[in-house]
Assembly symmetry: C2
Homo-oligomer: 374 residues x 2
C-alpha cells in the first residue's frame, strides 16, 4: 500500500484518492474481529488473523473472515479485537515489528484512555466501532456490521498523520462514519450513552426478576417498552467488569448525575409536582424525537483544505475539533508539500458542515479554503 | 347479546360457547379506543363511539373505527378510553343507564385502584391493555393492536360474575391474553415494569441531551442500545403526570428500590468490585434471556371446572389466584345451576397449567375437575 506522501507530491486540488486494498491483520476473531475480516475481504484486502483460541481462528477462516490463519509480517494495518485487557500488549508487540517498523495498529476496545496511554505510540490509533449487538461471538459476524455505524478514532498530539489517515480511510471504506475524539472525551461520553445505560438496564431487569419471584404475573405485564429498555442486558456480561474498571471515574460521575436526577423525579412524584414532571417528560420526548437516526451520507460533499505545519498535534487538534462540533469527516488525507516541512490537511465533509468547520479552524489560527466536490 | 345464564341452563360439559357479537360503545376514540372499535367491528360488532373532541369522533368514523358517532343506549358493553381523569365519571354515568341498567363497563386506564374504587360498581371491570406504542393518537389505531398483548382485568369481591365473563370473552376475542389481578397488585407491578422504566428512559435521555449541549459528538455515539433504552421517552408526555399522581405510592417505592440498587452498583464500580459487578450482570443477562416472548396460544387446552357458591368474591379470588400464578385464562364462563344458588366456574387454560391451577384452587377449599379439550 502506498502512503499519501507518495501519491501526492505537491498540493493536490482534487478529492483524496481512494486507497488500494492492502494487507490486514486481525488479532482476535470474535464478533467484531470476524466482521472486520469479512468486510475487508469483501473490499479486496488480504486478511490474516489470529486468536488466543486456535479453534476460533480456524472457524473464522472457515466462514470466510480470513484468508489465512497466522500473523502477517507484511501487514499494512492491524486491527486488535481481543478482550480489552490484552489489547495494549498485543499493540506494543505488533508495533515493534520484525525490523522495528510494524503495521499501523488500531484497536476496538470500548474504553480508550487506558489503552492509548499504555501503548503511547505515534502509529497506534485508538478506535471504537459503535456497532452494538447483544449477539455474542463469531457466529454473529457480519461484513455489513459497520455500515452507517459511528466509529470513534482517538488521535493524540503524538499521532502520526499518515497512520491516522490510513486508519480513517480503511474504516470509512467499511461504511462507518468516523468521529475523532480525544481519548478522555470518548470515555466520558460513552459512560453517558452506553456504560451507564447498560448498568441501568441490568438493574431494571434484576428488579423485575426479583418481583416476579413474588408475583409470577409481573413478567407478563412487561410490554414492549420494558423489553426495549432491558434488551442490552441480555448481552454477554464478561466484558463489563473490565469496562467498569477501565472507565470507573466517568461511570461513577455519570451514575452520580443519574442518581441525583432520579431523586429529583422521585420527589416530584411523591409531591405530585405535575408541572415539574411534565417539564422533565416534555424535554425528554422532544430530545428523543430529535435523536439523529443512523448517519446517511450527504448528497453534497465539500473539501476543506487546511495548510498546516507538519508537526505533532495538528491532526488531533483539527479532527477532534470537528468531532466536538458533531461534524463527520468522510475522508481525510495529508498532502505533504515537496518544498518543505509544511503540508495540507484535506478534509471531506458534508457541504453544510464545511463553513462551520472552516470558521472553527480559522478561529484556531489556521487559514483554510473550501471547495465543493462534484 | 345473550348472557351465559341463558346459554347454559344446567352444568355444561363442553367448552364455553363463543359469544355472538353484540353492540359496543367506545368512549374516547384515540389510539386505544380507535383500535378497540376497529377490532370489534372486524369481529361483527356494532360499534358506536363518542369523544370529547367531536372532530376526533368523526375521524374515527371516517377511518372505520365506528359504525356511528354517538352513545348507544342498547350497548352490551362500553369501553372507556378517555384520559384517566375522566374515566370514573364516564363510567358512573353509563352504569346508571337510562333505566338504571346500563351496559357492562370497562376502561383502559393505566392505574387501576383509584378508578375501580371511585366507580365501585359490580358491573364495572377495571381493565388495562398492555399494548404499548409510542405512536400517539387515532392515526396509529390498528385492529391488530391487541393480538398477543396482555390485557389486565381487575375484578374485586363485588364484581358481577356475568359482567366479568362478558368482558373477559370480548377482550380474549380481540386476541389479547387476560391476566386477572387485584387492582392494587396491578398498580404495584406496572410501577416496576412500566412507570419507573419510563421515568428512567426520560432521565437518561435528558442527561444525554444536556451532555450534547457541551459535546455535539455525544449523540453520534448513541448506538442501538441507547436508542432502545430511550424509545419510550418519545411518547406523548401528557398522560404521565396523571399516572404518577394516581400511582405515586407504588412508583416512589419502586424508585426507592432502584435508587438503592444503583447506589450499590455505583459503589461496586468505584471500588472495582469485579466479582460483584459480574454477579449483577450475569443475573440480569440470564433473566433477560428468559423473559417470555409475547404469549402464544398453547396447542393443548384444558378446562378446569370449579363448582362454586354463587356469591360475591369467588370470581376475584380464583381469577386473581390464576394471575398470581402466572397462569393465563383463555376463556371463562359462569354456568349458573338451574337448581339453586350454586354454579360452576369454567376456566380454559393451557393443559400444562391445569394441574397447578386445580391444586391451588383445591388448597382454597374448592373441589374441581380437569378435562382436556379436543
Amino acid at each position: 500500500m502506498t502512503s499519501p506522501a507518495e501519491q501526492t507530491s505537491g498540493i493536490p486540488t482534487g478529492r483524496p484518492a481512494g486507497r488500494a486494498p492492502g494487507r490486514a491483520l486481525v488479532v482476535g476473531t470474535g464478533l467484531i474481529g470476524g466482521s472486520i475480516g469479512m468486510a475487508l475481504r469483501a473490499r479486496g484486502w488480504h486478511v490474516s488473523g489470529t486468536d488466543a483460541d486456535p479453534d476460533r481462528a480456524n472457524a473464522a477462516l472457515a466462514m470466510g473472515a480470513l484468508d489465512v490463519v497466522g500473523s502477517d509480517p507484511r501487514a499494512d494495518v492491524a486491527f486488535i479485537a481481543t478482550p480489552v485487557g490484552a489489547a495494549a500488549d498485543v499493540a506494543r508487540t505488533l508495533l515493534a515489528g520484525p525490523h522495528g517498523t510494524g503495521p499501523v495498529v488500531t484497536d476496538v476496545s470500548g474504553v480508550k484512555a487506558p489503552v492509548v496511554t499504555a501503548v503511547g505510540h505515534p502509529r497506534f490509533i485508538g478506535g471504537h466501532p459503535m456497532a452494538g449487538s447483544e449477539q455474542m461471538g463469531l457466529s454473529g459476524a457480519d461484513p455489513d456490521l459497520f455500515m452507517g455505524a459511528t466509529w470513534v478514532l482517538t488521535p493524540t498530539a503524538a499521532t502520526d498523520l499518515d497512520a491516522y489517515s490510513l486508519v480513517q480511510s480503511v474504516v470509512t471504506s467499511l461504511g462507518a462514519d468516523v468521529v475523532a475524539l480525544a481519548p478522555a472525551d470518548h470515555d466520558r461520553l460513552v459512560a453517558v450513552v452506553s456504560h451507564v445505560p447498560h448498568l441501568v438496564a441490568a438493574t431494571l431487569m434484576n428488579a423485575a426478576a426479583d418481583g416476579a419471584e413474588q408475583d409470577a404475573a409481573l413478567l407478563r405485564l412487561a410490554a414492549g417498552g420494558f423489553r426495549d429498555m432491558t434488551r442490552v442486558a441480555a448481552g454477554h456480561p464478561g466484558i463489563w467488569p473490565d469496562v467498569c474498571a477501565d472507565n470507573s471515574r466517568a461511570i461513577v460521575a455519570a451514575l452520580d448525575r443519574l442518581l441525583g436526577d432520579l431523586t429529583t423525579i422521585r420527589d416530584q412524584v411523591a409531591e405530585t409536582d405535575r408541572a415539574g414532571l411534565l417539564e422533565v417528560l416534555d424535554r425528554a420526548s422532544a430530545a428523543r424525537r430529535n435523536l439523529p437516526a443512523r448517519a446517511t451520507r450527504p448528497e453534497n460533499l465539500a473539501m476543506v483544505r487546511v495548510p498546516v505545519p507538519d508537526r505533532e498535534g495538528v491532526l488531533a487538534e483539527i479532527t477532534t475539533l470537528a468531532g466536538d462540533l458533531g461534524i463527520n469527516i468522510y475522508d481525510i488525507e495529508i498532502a505533504h508539500s515537496a518544498e518543505g516541512p509544511r503540508g495540507v490537511l484535506l478534509l471531506v465533509v458534508a457541504s453544510t458542515d464545511a463553513a462551520p468547520l472552516a470558521e472553527a479552524v480559522g478561529a484556531r489560527g489556521y487559514r483554510c479554503t473550501v471547495s465543493e466536490l462534484a
